[in-house]
């Protein structure tokens, strides 16, 4: 029973810090920062991925080959290395002080965009050739056909891979811990270092927080996919 009381106390003492970090002093952190990283990187990655997938479909052979090579390299290196590149080299290259949060968003957005580009490309390819011909028969140009005929159908096909990529992205925000960005995993290790004796409780609790966020997204995704079923 004493242990149970201690655990309640442990959670009560640290819940604010785990949820929002040091927001009161102008440094948001914890779960709030994790969600911010995920939403920011996820939005950029979705736009970049859409653009990349369209470029892979519509681009000149030269552009396509370059893009394919970049995507292949991005997919073959660990996210950790990409975070290092952005975190340590961007400031030196640009000659300005880039905040750690921005470098992590850049790295996560890049890697997710690489995966999404391929999903978008595959989604567009999955739409039958007849649809392109139909667009042309209606007097639409290639780009108009893409915009009004192909994409509306292809986006439905792609939805599951977007959801999966967003979930991966949420999990990958925990890598920001390594470069000292105060997201949920980082503040949890701080709390763990301070408390010393409750590692199972602390990491179990934040594991549960990630679990709730990820499975909620998966659930929303499957609901949306059902309602939005390809016709």
């Amino acid at each position: 029973m004493a242990g149970c009381a201690m655990n309640t106390q442990l959670i009560a003492d640290n819940i604010d810090y785990l949820l929002i970090g040091n927001w009161a002093n102008g440094q948001p952190g914890g779960l709030a920062l994790t969600l911010f990283l995920a939403v920011a990187a996820g939005s950029i990655a979705s736009l970049l991925g859409l653009a990349g997938g369209i470029a892979l479909t519509m681009g000149q052979p030269g552009l396509r080959r370059t893009l394919e090579a970049v995507i292949a390299v991005l997919r073959a290196i660990p996210v950790m290395m990409l975070i290092f590149w952005c975190y340590f080299l961007l400031p030196i290259l640009l000659g300005i002080d880039v905040p750690g949060i921005a470098t992590v968003i850049a790295a996560l957005a890049l890697i997710s965009a690489a995966y999404l580009s391929q999903s978008v490309y595959a989604g567009i390819a999955a739409i039958g050739h007849g649809q392109w011909a139909a667009g042309q028969a209606l007097g639409l140009g290639r780009w108009q056909t893409l915009r009004w005929v192909i994409l509306p159908q292809a986006l439905r096909v792609m939805l599951p891979s977007f959801i999966n990529q967003w979930i991966t992205l949420i999990k990958d925000t925990s890598l920001a811990y390594v470069v000292g960005v105060a997201e949920l995993t980082f503040v949890a290790t701080q709390v763990n270092n301070r408390e010393q004796i409750y590692p199972l409780e602390i990491f179990g609790m934040i594991g549960l927080a990630y679990f709730i966020v990820c499975s909620t997204l998966a659930w929303l995704g499957s609901r949306l996919a059902r309602r939005w079923q390809p016709v």
Binding site: V73, A76, I77, P78, V79, M80, M81, F84, W85, F88, L89, I92, L93, I167, I170, K171, D172, T173, S174, L175, Y177, V178, T185, A188, T189, N192, I197, P199, L200, F203, G204, I206, G207, Y210, F211, C214, S215, A218
Partner: protein, 247 residues
Amino acid sequence: MPSPPAWLGHSWLAPQYLGWLGQGLLLTAWLALLVCVLGTLLGIVLTALADSQHKAPRYVAQLFLTAHRNTPLMVQLLLWYFGMPSLLPESALMWLNAPHALALPFGLQLPWPSFEFLAALLALSCYGASFIAGELAAGLNAVPRGQREAAKALGLTALQAFRWVILPQALVIVRRPLLGQYTGIIKNTSLTMAIGVAELSYRSRQVESQTLLTFQAFAVATVLYLALILLWQLAGRSREPAWRGAR
């Protein structure tokens, strides 16, 4: 001669630092290999449990899979690394942390791995297994139902049918996705630097902070990762025709 741009620094990595990175690469490859083997074995067990006719094993497998897939690997690593000591009895911990050597024939000795290596191995294997099990289950579903009934008709038990009839066919189907999972495992080993495993990413940070040659340190590490993964994919692909023929 124009001087190199400032971000490139003014020298190349000394042999000593290249040696560190080489050691990191070896540890990355060794850890990844062990995780692939252990993760696949655990994945097979999980798939068998999830495929069971009884409810309890199916629930256990489902719980394991969702818990591991929907939480970050980083958190699982930290949980194993910091949490395992508080679960184990004092004596077991003392033994784990003390240096040991496994005596092999011919006077060879295999040093007992460090505690962080063990934690990394367990965490990565469980995480990998939860995804490998997903691929295996998809492969199992792709094996026609009649095969199981045929095995039953031959008098094989459920376990025998799984081992000798279903599993070999499923493995052929899941070859490619499985290779993808193994590539993922190589990349995932980079997270173990967070608990102090001196693999390639850890070594690249170490070289970077020692030499301040940021570009060189990360460039060499990145090229080594690319080489390892390319080599692995080539090795996997080169054996494909033989496998295909076996079908």
